[in-house]
Amino acid sequence: MPFIPHTDSEIRSMLDTIGVDSIEAVFDEIPDNLRCGKLEGVPEGLTEYEVTRLLHERAADDQALRCFAGAGAYDHHIPAAVWEITTRGEYYSAYTPYQAEASQGTLQLIYEYQSMMASLTGMDISNASLYDGASAMAEAVLMAVRGNRKSKSRKLLVAGTVNPTYCKVTNAIVHNQNISWDEVPFDNASGTTVTAALEAHAGEDYAALVIQQPNFFGSLEAVDEMTNWAHANGMLVVAVVNPMSLAALKAPGQWGEKGADIACGEGQPLGVPMSSGGPYYGFMCCKQPLARQMPGRIVGRTVDLDGNPGFALTLQAREQHIRRSKATSNICTNQGLCVTASTIYMSLLGPEGLARVAGASHSNINKLLTALDAVDGVSLAHAGPHFHEALITLSKPAAVVIEQMANLGFLAGVAVSDDYPQYENALLVCTTETKNDADIAAYAAALDEVLNGEAL
């Protein structure tokens, strides 16, 4: 019996203690007519060896591609130590640290994580994680609507350069509470938001302006101006940021004169594998005045009976298990193990290491764009600067190019035409520090072959 330790004689003795004569008897409160059948849809059990073999075969079916795609999931190197430690049983198989005294490992780690994220984003407080970057934006929108004392509006402004998937997820979540937004169109030449587009909304009542930096196209927004404009118009500013980029880019807390109010985003670049899209984690940080509006868990440092320092979950009165229908969110289980990995990752990289990873990712996109400049049928959609992504337009349909590039061993990038019909044959390409000059040359050669080759 997989994972069940009971022997026959133990079962008998336990039944005796209960005072029944079969295991079936303990289910006697379930109406007979409801009892279920054989579960024919579930295959027979396999041994661990059989499952191992099956999964190795399945994994082999997923041919590894050299990854030039980003769009929210990034192919960074993860130090071996990160997951060797993260998957230690004591982290891996513990529950949420409700019993603080028996969970100081996880609690202290989260406290350290909060400290790192608050510093990276230039904010006062961080929570212990949300599900992922997309849903973190939804929570940030809800929080902004709750938290903006100056505005009664259930509307927001969202820059048109925010990851379209994040917008969809946000909509799926917040529209239930009658929250909606207006999109700020971006400039086609630069791929960024221009002040004129914002000015069109001056004086209107919005709860917040949502800005992504670097934006979906990998371009850099004029975050200082946008932040100042939003604040001047009574809005809060929600910053959606790539935490890796914050080793180089101005922290949201320093945007404009007063800084963004909420920073959120996808934690994946910090030590979490791409893994088909999850588990990742959403991070969220905010300025002090919004602290009690924050969704999710928060760990605080306190003292024990002997006066020694220790860590515990705190501000729980925001959470569903205490506040129920009045909670700041329904989130309960978060993405703790990914946070564990990220904390170890950030510790291993440190400020200089993180800057170098960001730096190599950035210089590689410039190298790639230079290499692609020489390829017929490729042009750059937006003038720079780019952080580590850029949109290129192609002489063939993106879907075809992606498929053919895959056959050559490359994940060529991400097609965006579903969300931006104006970019029909375009690919969003991305480089990280894991690409070297040879990879970039090979990519350009392959793309040349696909676009301009004879027989494919």
């Binding site: 499952v51 079916d61 004591e90």
Partner: protein, 488 residues
Amino acid sequence: MDSVKMEKVIFEHSVAGRRATVQSPVAPADFSDLPQALLREDKPMLPETSELQVVRHYTRLSQKNFSIDTQFYPLGSCTMKYNPRACNTLAMLPNFLGRHPLAPASHSQGFLACMHDLQEILQDVTGMKGVSLTPMAGAQGEFAGVAMIMAYHRKRGDMERNEIIVPDAAHGTNPATAVMCGCVVKEIPTNPEGDVDIEALKAVVGPKTAGIMLTNPSTVGVFERKIEEISKIVHEAGGMLYYDGANLNAILGKVRPGDMGFDVIHMNLHKTFSTPHGGGGPGSGAVGVSERLLPFMPIPHVKQEGDSYRYVTEAECPDSIGRLSGWAGNAGVNLRAYIYARLLGREGMHRVAEFAALNANYLQARLSAEGFDLAYPGRRASHEFIVTLKRQAKDIGLTATDIAKRLLDKGFHAPTIYFPLLVPECLLIEPTETEAKEDLDAFVEAMVEILREAEADIEQAKGAPYTQPVRRLDDVKAARELDVVWSN
């Protein structure tokens, strides 16, 4: 005399200029082509440490946790059972870890096949008609479920239904979810036997009833015997039944939510399907739906066409409640659940509930025989049950917290305490099917010891724990004098 139990905060190991050089590119960063105004001026406060220091620090910290891999962990409602190591090892095969979520289906058949097979398995064990693996934890599964119910009503043009009925024993995520879905919560009481108060239910249903959120067995650990009647009442009122699958472990292979009349269910794969809880997550809150709700399922989900698999597109699901995650949910967690499901297989599925129930009823019988009061004495335990310390709290001042902390000293994680809220001084105890009889017996012994100790000297329990890295912590100070970020 004690070795230093305190572990410095990582920043205390930090020295300016120190770093683990092999972990980043050799070339220093150069952002001079970016506008100066957009660049960071300060150095973020990340630790400047060596690789050994980091490994040592986080290895040592890990040892300060209780976990299933090290302790019996009977945390009620949380299903802390063995997380098979193979699930982790196999889910971390390089090709699985290295797959970008947007890799083309042509090069992702292995992963997609696993997800498809898991959808089918979950569909069968819950008795539903479709499954989406997208929700990233139980609460998001609840969200998906209630959002689907609302979408269904709205699609039919029924714009008025906005009330979600929730028993008072429900988990906090239930009412919180309802509110996130724009609904109004109607709470109904639990009767003294632990069942839903049918009369109260009848009184509350009506044309505004969107649905009811139930878990069965309920959070008080007993099977809701009148489930068919409840189903009838709610359905006749035009509402739908939502099943909170956090307790699915109790009935896996015994009774299916679909057969009980539920229209939608979320599963906590990090409970019933034994994916690790990771010290707080990630989980996976897969949802299953009845025929009527199929069009509303969150996207994406995997579809089989001939021999191949692909995600359904947004265009194919115009009525979907949409996307709840950037990609397709916690794929790696779902992979672990899939591996677990294949290891268990059909027969194993049936055994889960059997042995979870056997262990719970055995522990209930033994604790009761040892003089502990059961909250619902006449009832069968499901996979869990409640002991109430109301009497001991009154007589000798021994609270649920005290017993919880003292259990840590005895080498056991504490049960869930003070949930559900309606039972005073409650311990919600869930042993799970993977624990051996001898460990249950040792737990009973510890409980009895604690009671005897407390009868002799209550101060000992009040001062517990004594053997952990810290003594009992001051929660009030934690909230009042907020220290949530390190500063040098």
